[in-house]
Symmetry: C2
Subunit: 372 residues, 2 copies
């Protein structure tokens, strides 16, 4: 268990008058414990939960199937209540645990944006005197400011992503397929120590205009633009980096658009510092795309960590000041340039006391990457 | 849209007196449409939904961000209602769509085991006269019997998994790391045409006793047992195959345990046919492990398709007859042999009219795979 995180959660729950918080999503389970329950992200019924009480005790709920893995990762003597997969009794076991911790008639925060409606109905029936309130915002707000250990793993992941993408692009050329890029890229992330990855985007040629598409059998030809992104993972944490490469030579208009995206990147890097408004950061991107007569997307960046998109978003709707310790994915991009290709440059940044620092520092992206 | 699937859903909804069904999970969205909404499986708030009405009309709800991708994959003229990510209005857009289809005071099935409690509460408030009932069981029951097109993609995926694992194991030896196996394995699945994968297990030596662990930096040595599993994906479909290999030579007891698991596999293959009881199939596995004085896990197989675990489960608690057209992952295994290693052999099977057919037919697993 992470004592620093538990202390933060307790502080926040006392502020809003909660007696306990139940983390039910994979990311908040990992936030409390420091590790993922392996199959929870894949099978949503395999609930793994962490109960944190106002007196700073943390206890876990695990499915029988994952019990040995969780016990091996949790500190010795940790309280782990085990439910049985085919008895479907996760909510009963959680309710028993809450009763044991004298929460029978308490005020408890829970992630209402994760817990399925059927499970919540069951829990309410088991604990009719508990007042459940949404806790997702409290937890996501805490997760915005990373601990030193979180920053370290995000720095490592940023370099893994950047280097793997760059090397996979450099190994590609006319005649390779998107699957070849994918194969080189996944090999790269694992060889460099990632445990898993999410959302690999390999979008080349006419496919480069689509936001979130994986690799296809498409064969590359000279003049193709390639958008390549991956989110490698370690211990539940993600970095997201995207690079754009041209095969052999850039198509007409590509250098001009890339230069604008690069100008935009530097304006963003100059503006990102503690106290800067997330909305004003977004407006830098929106205005730069306006110079190209191209449409912006609905954000130019977002927090990243235990989820591949976290608060804060840098977009037009909400506004908040940036703070030191935030880690952001910043992605000046245009999907549809009007010339049959899209371009994206996504970096990982740490907001520091004095400004910001690029964590994805393997490739210098000021010039468009041209390969083979 | 898949007309055959929509017809099945309509038939089932009329049977239980529903006016419409809303598919809200990634797998049921893909079941209706034939494709995944790319980031829905990764960001649960990026709702993609399919509304199927009793008159066999299907319309979609998409987040703005994925609109271009979904429109490119859906048939021309398909009705797609778009919600705006940062207006958080997915439920409002769904409610409007339901009103448009005259479902304002109807009986509607929805996946209560997926829809988050907060979204369900919002939907109930928007549509106070609609009676929502759980639809997850109806949909999972339909998905148990695969269409010919589904069987074809599962056959392809089974071979991709089997061959990739076998080749990655054959390339490993004393001195390679689990990350090397992972790198070769992921390269293999993409080179053979998978679009993505889930849950790669690389568990070697003393780590081979843990159920669902990814690769680590552990370096292999002679006599290690390696459990390697992967679920490659195409169009939302998964195959799950697991192989066990020994590095250089099998440790004492491994050949004896493998022979029992092989006996078990053949008993299972003989027993699996239309009409066979899922519980009795499980008992074959349980009894065979009893001969070794080893504990069984809580199932020996499960349906597989758009989710990596689907109904029916072959376990001790529920019971149902197998039917032709089911695709099953069958995995006689023991995690903790008592000798510091675990062993697992997981095949993909199709239940046929006359019995069953192995879809993962690349490696003959009767003898333990010994590499390097």
């Amino acid at each position: 268990m992470r004592q620093e995180v538990i202390a933060r959660i307790v502080h926040a729950m006392l502020d809003v008058g909660l007696d306990a918080i139940v983390a039910v999503s994979p990311e908040n389970f990992a936030y409390v414990t420091g590790f993922l329950s392996p199959t929870q992200p894949l099978m949503r019924w395999r609930h793994a939960m962490a109960l944190v009480t106002a007196d700073a005790q943390a206890s876990l709920v695990s499915v029988d199937m994952e019990q040995s893995t969780i016990r091996a990762k949790a500190p010795p003597g940790a309280e782990i209540a085990v439910w049985r997969e085919f008895q479907f009794d996760a909510m009963t076991v959680l309710a028993d645990l809450m009763n044991k911790h004298k929460l029978t008639a308490s005020r408890v925060g829970i992630e209402m944006d994760y817990l399925p409606a059927a499970d919540f109905a069951a829990l309410q029936e088991l604990l009719p005197l508990v007042r459940f309130v949404p806790a997702q915002r409290l937890l996501s707000r805490l997760r915005e400011i990373k601990t030193p250990a979180e920053i370290e793993v995000l720095r490592r992941l940023s370099r893994i992503a950047d280097r793997s993408i760059t090397e996979a692009c450099r190994a590609a050329g006319a005649g390779s397929s998107e699957m070849d890029i994918a194969a080189a890229l996944t090999r790269g992330v694992y060889e460099q120590g990632a445990e898993y990855f999410k959302l690999m985007i390999v979008a080349t040629g006419e496919r480069s205009v689509f936001p979130n598409v994986g690799p296809s059998e498409r064969v590359l030809k000279k003049g193709d633009i390639c958008r390549v992104e991956i989110f490698p993972m370690i211990a539940g944490y993600h970095a997201g980096v995207c690079r754009t490469a041209a095969i052999g030579a850039a198509p007409p208009q590509a250098e001009r658009i890339w230069a604008k995206l690069t100008e935009c990147k530097h304006l963003l890097l100059d503006a990102i510092k503690p106290g800067a408004s997330t909305r004003k950061i977004y407006e830098i991107y929106r205005d730069k795309l306006a110079e190209l007569d191209l449409p912006p997307i609905s954000f130019v960046g977002h927090g990243i960590g235990l989820h591949l998109h976290e608060d804060p978003y840098l977009g037009p709707t909400e506004d908040q000041p940036l703070e030191a310790g935030m880690v952001l994915g910043i992605e000046p991009l245009v999907y549809e340039t009007g010339f049959g290709f899209g371009m994206q440059n996504k970096d990982m940044l740490l907001v520091t006391q004095g400004g910001c620092e690029i964590l994805s520092d393997y490739l210098d992206t000021d010039a468009l990457l041209i390969v083979a």
